[in-house]
């Protein structure tokens, strides 16, 4: 349902897009002149956006319809130190206790509370445990659910009323999105990664530029990416307003899924794999919008403002006021004032105070490899407070097994315990007012990382360079 976008998507002639194929396979019914009743294959749930949904079930006297299709993990409102001890903040503790009570009262078999070996950030534990499959419909009361689109799934964030709908009926009512394809031709340069590609794209489209669309990412630069990198790109789809993003599954996808605990096995694997191999956009299928970028044009990116669309190459200057549309100038000035930056200035060399490596955007093993590889043999800058937060216990274990932990500690860094942490600062991981944080998370909104905190979004490599120099630094130098 979206009255911004009333055009009927073009389909049929010339073939179907990947989005169309998955959507059509999940339609239970269509409301006359209204939305589609869409069946949901996998529902993820966390402690912050679900309590009111469970309350709603109680008020209506309903059970959870398919409890085995919902995976629950506590991540948003959890501490990243001393997780073995009782949570200090009584209101947070109550929210976590309520989550446990709901999981218990409604007999939810896949519940991973704080301290559980499978606990972690919802969009990290889903794929790594094999809950995320190609061709699936996936929802969660969290806008970064778009992450799972990396597997060739229709994955999108929903509100709490819709969480209640999924718990009660395993369906949501959604209008069909328009389709967009964004193709990245060529290869990314040295020192440029998936986060840079995504921030570049969002800076071109703006924070509302893909609203109403489901975006398929294609092209050589996307095909060359690992699953971790693809997840980073799809994760950020929402930051340009898209309902979601997706990438056609290929051998990289199948190899990642195969063998994971909740992935199909044996004969079921063979049957599903045969289906998954059909999941690609037909040649000649028409999208409502097509964009093409050259991957070689992308340099390491940083943001300078208070939404993720306000990004630039690390060597570039903040746009001048004159270059901004008149209707947007008040907001633009307000944004730069908040950040303490001047229009037209360069940010390279600017002193920073905090570095955050983590979140559903960049809290995976590959992000820690990139960071550790850069800081190896160097030392953390004295002026920097660094929070390195693995996305899950599985990531944490891998960091230790691969020897990254030793590299990080030798360079003066330490690891915190898994959770969303400073990405949204619901817990104590808050950047103080006025301080600058180079953050691998997804949002640089005012106050996102703490009241008055100033966020500069970047990839793990730019974050590593900032952590050892104490300044905004081009990691290619």
């Amino acid at each position: 349902m979206n009255s911004n976008t009333q055009e009927t998507p073009f389909r049929g002639e010339g073939g179907s897009t990947l989005f169309d194929k998955i959507w059509d396979a999940h339609v239970v019914s269509t409301v006359e002149n209204g939305p589609t009743q869409l069946y949901i294959d996998r529902h993820f749930c966390h402690e912050v956006t679900s309590p009111q949904a469970f309350n709603g079930l109680r008020e209506r006297g309903l059970k959870v319809f398919r409890p085995e299709l919902t995976t629950l993990t506590a991540d948003h409102n959890t501490p990243t130190i001393h997780q073995d001890q009782p949570v200090q903040d009584p209101i947070s503790r109550n929210q976590l206790d309520t989550f446990a009570k709901n999981a218990n009262d409604f007999n939810m078999p896949l519940f991973y509370p704080l301290g559980h070996i499978k606990n972690g950030v919802v969009h990290i534990i889903g794929p790594e445990n094999g809950f995320t499959h190609p061709g699936a419909t996936i929802v969660c009361g969290d806008s970064h659910t778009s992450t799972h689109g990396a597997f060739g799934a229709i994955a999108f964030g929903i509100g709490t009323s819709e969480v209640e709908m999924v718990l009660a009926t395993q369906c949501v009512l959604q209008s069909r999105a328009k389709t967009m394809r964004i193709t990245f031709n060529g290869k990314l340069g040295t020192g440029v990664n998936a986060k840079d590609l995504a921030l570049y794209m969002i800076s071109k489209l703006t924070t509302g530029g893909a609203t109403g669309y489901f975006v398929e990412y294609a092209g050589e630069a996307i095909r060359n990416m690992s699953m971790e990198e693809r997840m980073t790109v799809c994760n950020l789809s929402i930051e340009m307003g898209a309902r979601g993003g997706l990438i056609a599954p290929d051998q990289t996808t199948f190899d990642y899924v195969n063998g994971r605990e909740f992935a199909p096995k044996g004969e079921e694997w063979d049957r599903k794999l045969a289906y998954w191999k059909t999941l690609k956009t037909d040649e000649g299928a028409k999208f409502d919008k097509e964009l093409v970028f050259d991957a070689a044009d992308i340099q390491p990116m940083i943001t300078y403002g208070t939404n993720p669309g306000m990004g630039m190459g690390i060597t570039e200057s903040i746009p001048t006021l004159e270059s901004i549309d008149e209707a947007g100038r008040i907001s633009y000035q307000k944004s730069l004032e908040y950040m303490g930056f001047e229009a037209g200035e360069k940010l390279e060399g600017k002193t920073i105070d905090y570095v955050f490596l983590g979140s559903c955007t960049n809290g995976r093993i590959e992000d820690f490899r990139v960071f550790a590889n850069y800081v190896k043999g160097k030392k953390k800058a004295h002026n920097v407070t660094a929070w390195l937060v693995p996305g899950s216990w599985m990531v944490e274990k891998q960091i230790r097994e691969e020897g990254l932990y030793d590299i990080l500690t030798e360079a003066g860094f330490d690891l915190r315990q898994p959770g969303c942490s400073a990405c949204l600062a619901m817990n104590d991981d808050k950047v103080p007012a006025g301080k600058y944080a180079v953050s691998t998370s997804n949002r640089n909104f005012e106050g996102r990382q703490g009241p008055g905190a100033r966020t500069i979004l970047a990839g793990p490599l730019v974050a590593a360079a900032a952590a050892v120099t104490g300044k905004i630094t081009d990691p290619r130098n």
Partner: protein, 195 residues
């Protein structure tokens, strides 16, 4: 859900673009386990100083402006999917948000809580801001049945788009769960077809 049919009200102007849900309700207020009380923290970081005193220059603290219609710059409600943003808007007493563009998830969340998002052209939005600058007691009339919004200062009326199903839901105070629960047989039949 409350019914929505027609409303004439003064407005609260917020001519800021890309108002994200972290501004509507900051994350630190999301720890509640019910839907109550979010209105008190609507726009908390723009509305209150650190010590909790109101910031004089923010529109919700300006006694010139009041009413149950919020008029905001384009791309209202971007970012997080938190329905708490809709609960905060509703809890404060807004029944309508007028903008030239809404983020998708916020728009759904608003509708699911009986708050009507009204999309108007950038020009019509600019005219509303101009009218309310001239006279803070400007009223708008929102008529859901006829899908019109009227600027009562200029007399200009334009139509807005809403899908028929959602319109019926709002006019009758029905929600999506009632509808989906009535389709349980279709859901079970669908499940038999999954490979």
């Amino acid at each position: 859900m409350e019914k929505f049919i027609k409303l004439t009200s003064t407005v609260v102007p917020l001519p800021i673009e890309n108002v994200d849900t972290d501004q509507i309700i900051p994350a630190r207020f999301l720890k509640a386990t019910d839907k109550n009380g979010f209105g008190d923290n609507l726009f908390a970081d723009w509305r209150y100083n650190k010590d909790g005193s109101p910031k004089a220059d923010f529109v919700l603290n300006n006694s010139l402006y009041s009413g149950s219609i919020l008029v905001a710059g384009k791309n209202f409600g971007s970012g997080s999917s938190r329905e708490h943003a809709a609960w905060a808007i509703d809890g404060y007493g807004f029944k309508v948000v007028v903008s030239s563009f809404f983020a998708d998830i916020f728009q759904n969340n608003a509708l699911n809580n009986g708050v009507l998002p009204v999309v108007v052209s950038a020009e019509f939005l600019a005219e509303i801001f101009t009218s309310v600058n001239v006279d803070a007691k400007l009223t708008l009339t929102i008529d859901l049945e006829n899908q019109t919004v009227t600027n009562n200062a200029t007399g200009k009326s334009v139509t807005f788009v809403i899908n028929t199903y959602k319109k019926e839901c709002l006019l009758n105070g029905l929600d999506d769960i009632d509808y989906l629960l009535s389709k349980k047989d279709l859901i079970e039949a669908y499940e038999q077809t999954i490979i």
